[in-house]
Symmetry: C2
Subunit: 159 residues, 2 copies
């Protein structure tokens, strides 16, 4: 990751995408959110969704997983180029998680994150605090998930 | 689950508890949130947490998993007693997820949910909409996680 000081408000990062297959939708739902419209095609057709769709928690988790994979690739690239890798700190939480549209079987969701607020930490001068809007959009460009989170990002040592 | 009409504002349900062990904390973190203070005891001691602690996403997921297990037990009990089991519908999202304190290795977290708002659905008269506050508290009684979610719950057929 870049240092806090190298980010600007409005910076948008495309994290990667995930294709939601029936098997994965059902196995996630069996474990964490066993509602009929996440578990069975015929039941989903009779529900108001009309088609098998992923648990909202599954979509949230694929956002997290896609972020983790993105950060690993990005850190590997930085190390390969001899660039420093900034640390990230704990997150105090997130706000306004919205599942805006169902994620149906066969959908591909593109995940992204955008910086919406930045401030230095008063209590820990080596850290900056970034507020980011995290989103997922399906192959039609419709937002399916959105939430706002806060993270600590290391400041450039010289700053 | 009870029907929407059988709930009242202030109803609190103890969902169950989870004991956070080192192996599970690390394996969850490796998959979804590979930060040093979730992966390694020595690194965690050097971090500002001072001790291995669970990813916030891990705590959120154990809340969900505990709810699912609770609902299964509760529905089985209802069926065994010949009582109806109300359906729940999709959730449009949740708000204000806060990780209030770290969950350290060895902590036991009690999960609960409390009804804070109720209204009938205008567009779908067979459903009611409940807003609930979901929490987890550790063995010292300190809240570690809190968020507010909205769910559709089936109304009593006669209502």
């Amino acid at each position: 990751m870049k240092y806090f000081d190298d980010f600007s408000i409005g910076d948008r990062t495309e994290l990667g995408s995930h294709h939601f297959k029936a098997d994965e939708i059902k196995s996630f739902a069996r474990r964490f959110d066993p509602q009929r419209f996440h578990l069975d095609e015929a039941e989903a057709e009779r529900s108001h969704f009309g088609k098998l769709c992923a648990s909202g928690w599954h979509t949230a988790f694929m956002w997290m997983r896609t972020l983790v994979d993105y950060r690993r690739r990005e850190a590997d690239g930085r190390r390969a180029r001899g660039e420093p890798v900034a640390r990230t700190g704990p997150s105090p939480g997130f706000r306004d998680l919205k599942w805006l549209k169902p994620v149906y079987v066969g959908d591909t969701v593109d995940f992204a994150t955008e910086v919406i607020e930045m401030r230095p930490s008063n209590s820990r001068p080596e850290w900056g605090i970034m507020r980011v809007r995290n989103t997922g959009a399906n192959q039609n460009g419709d937002l399916v998930i959105s939430f706002v989170s806060t993270t600590f990002v290391e400041r450039r040592p010289s700053s």
